[in-house]
């Protein structure tokens, strides 16, 4: 008796909740915009198709064009520009991809150079990249990424990946998913 009724801190719905909603909309909207603008010219225009992480996305599998893929073995066909070829080659020599797959490097240049860890071919006009159905980067020009061909000669995975030389572990994960 005589005790004052203590009210808990008042919850003021309309104003406070609208502030929360607007702050969330503005904050996450800003983060989304920043993420969008941070995409580079070599990235896929549609990020859903870049490094999806699973086999047989979209219209895959489709037969690989003859010439590069090693029959009876998984083959990773890398697509690079001339300035990225040596970095990828060093990574291939230092990495463990060879345990899972053979490798070939397609250089969008007239002078492909040499690589001890992979067969190298020149693709100045982009015909090889087109025959593998590689997507075009946001900034145009030849693709930088890779396609994975299974032992039966079917393309099971393909993606743009401007940083592929530093992510061969991910390529190995995809190659290991194939029987």
């Amino acid at each position: 008796m005589g005790q004052a009724v203590r009210e808990r801190p008042t919850f003021r719905p309309t104003r406070a909740l609208v502030v929360v909603w607007v702050a969330a909309a503005a904050g996450f909207g800003l983060l989304l915009a920043v993420a969008r603008t941070s995409q580079g010219p070599l990235d896929d225009p549609d990020p859903a198709w870049q490094r999806p992480g699973f086999l047989d996305a979209g219209d895959l599998p489709v037969p690989a064009p003859p010439g590069l893929a090693v029959r009876g073995r998984t083959t990773v066909v890398f697509f690079v520009r001339s300035d990225g070829g040596s970095e990828l080659c060093q990574a291939l020599e230092a990495g463990r991809l060879a345990e899972k797959a053979a490798a070939a490097v397609v250089v969008a240049d007239r002078t492909p150079g040499a690589c001890a860890a992979a067969a190298v071919v020149a693709d100045a006009d982009g015909a090889v990249a087109d025959s593998y159905g590689m997507r075009r980067p946001r900034g145009g020009g030849p693709p930088v990424g890779y396609a994975v061909v299974d032992a039966a000669g079917a393309i099971r995975y393909r993606t743009l990946d401007p940083g592929v030389a530093g992510r061969l572990g991910e390529v190995r994960t995809i190659a290991a998913a194939l029987p």
Partner: protein, 142 residues
């Protein structure tokens, strides 16, 4: 400072601490995307997981007529469920289509409108939860 004002200040501080902890946890999740592209994948799974959590939270709050306890933990846990295959990917296990059981982990990336669609869904779910809160009594006597 009056007792109600001090209590309100303590409550605000508690909310700030929870927000800071949730933000730190989400930054940690973002950084964990070594095997995937955080710029795109983090947003998708965050929006999907959070949206589902907020819808469940709205339903629970409307039914019990009380705010749910630990409101920032629900979206975070749902986010972890949605991105679980990415932990597997980092461990060397590629995605497979059955992983859609983790809140549409595979197919959620391919909805029309991509992350903008999920962002809109998230805002709608957040609005639903906030409306559920707004319909509660403004103050309670102890």
């Amino acid at each position: 400072m009056t007792a109600p004002a001090a209590a309100a200040e303590r409550a605000a501080l508690r909310v700030c601490l929870w927000c800071a902890a949730a933000a730190a946890a989400e930054v940690g999740v973002y950084v964990s995307y070594r095997g995937h592209d955080a710029r795109f994948h983090w947003f998708t799974h965050f929006f999907v997981g959070s949206s589902l959590a907020l819808i469940v939270m709205a339903a629970v709050a409307a039914r019990t007529r009380r705010p749910v306890p630990l409101p920032l933990v629900w979206p975070f846990l749902a986010h972890l469920v949605a991105m679980f295959p990415d932990f597997l990917f980092t461990a060397g296990i590629a995605h497979e289509r059955w992983m859609d059981v983790f809140l549409g982990h595979i197919s959620s990336h391919f909805v029309p409108g991509r992350n903008l669609t999920w962002f809109t869904t998230f805002l709608a779910a957040l609005a639903a939860y906030l409306i559920a809160l707004a319909r509660m009594p403004h103050a309670r006597a102890r």
